[in-house]
Symmetry: C2
Subunit: 129 residues, 2 copies
C-alpha cells in the first residue's frame, strides 16, 4: 500500500489533487473534516490544532499500515492542517483508493477512529469577540 | 436533508463541484466508484450501464430519505453515469455532508449497499478485442 501523510499549515485544498485513476482501483473514498461554528455547545470562530509533528506523522503512518491487514487498499493520502483554522475550513483530508469500496471505507473510518485516540494532535478553541 | 440525484451520460467530474462549506457541516464524505479493467476475473475494456431512469432516480431519492432517520445529514448529492463507461472513469459519485462523520459515513455506505440491491440500473461488459 502506498502511504502519504503530510502535516501542513495552509488551506488543505492546494495539497489535495484529484487522485489519479488506475485500472485496478474501483473505489475512491474521501473524507474532509471541517471546523464548525460550534464546539461542545459553544459558538467558536476557529480551532487551533497543534501537533507533535514528527511523532504524529509517524503514528499516522503506523496506524495506516496496521489497518492494511484488515483492509487491503492500494493508496492512501492523509493531509492534516495545523495552526489556526477558521470555521468552514478543513482540518483534515483522507483519500483512500482500493479495488472495492468495502476495504476503502473500512480503512478510512477505522483510521479516523484511531486518529482521535492515538495521535498527538490537540486543539484549542477561539471564541468570537 | 437536501437531496440531489442526477443520472447523466458524460464524465462525472463536470457535474461534481467541490461542495460548498457551511458552518454547521463538520464532515464531508465522498465516494467515487470507478470502472476497473477486470470484472469477475475477466479483463474488460468498458462497462455499459443502463437505467430505467425515472424509476432509478426516484428510487435513489426514496432510499436516501429513508436512511435519513438513522443517519441525519444536511446534504447529499448523487450522480450516476449511464451509457458506455471506459476503464478508469467513474460510474457513480456520492457526496454527503453532515455535522459529524459517523452520520456521513453511515448514510454513504448504507446507500451504496441499498443501491446495488434495489435500484433498476444494470450493467454489461465489453471485452477488449
Amino acid at each position: 500500500m502506498q502511504v502519504e501523510v503530510e502535516i501542513v499549515e495552509a488551506p488543505l485544498e492546494e495539497y489535495v489533487p484529484r487522485p489519479a485513476a488506475s485500472a485496478d482501483v474501483g473505489a475512491l473514498a474521501e473524507f474532509w473534516g471541517t471546523v464548525r461554528d460550534e464546539e461542545g455547545g459553544t459558538k467558536i470562530a476557529a480551532l487551533h490544532y497543534e501537533a507533535y509533528q514528527s511523532m504524529a506523522k509517524r503514528q499516522m503512518e503506523t496506524i495506516l499500515l496496521e489497518l492494511e491487514t484488515a483492509f487491503p487498499c492500494q493508496r492512501v493520502h492523509v493531509v492534516h492542517r495545523r495552526g489556526w483554522i477558521p470555521v468552514n475550513e478543513a482540518a483534515i483530508y483522507v483519500g483512500v483508493q482500493a479495488c472495492h469500496r468495502k476495504e476503502a471505507f473500512g480503512l478510512l473510518t477505522s483510521f479516523m477512529d484511531r486518529l482521535k485516540q492515538d495521535v498527538p494532535i490537540w486543539k484549542t478553541e477561539a471564541r468570537p469577540c
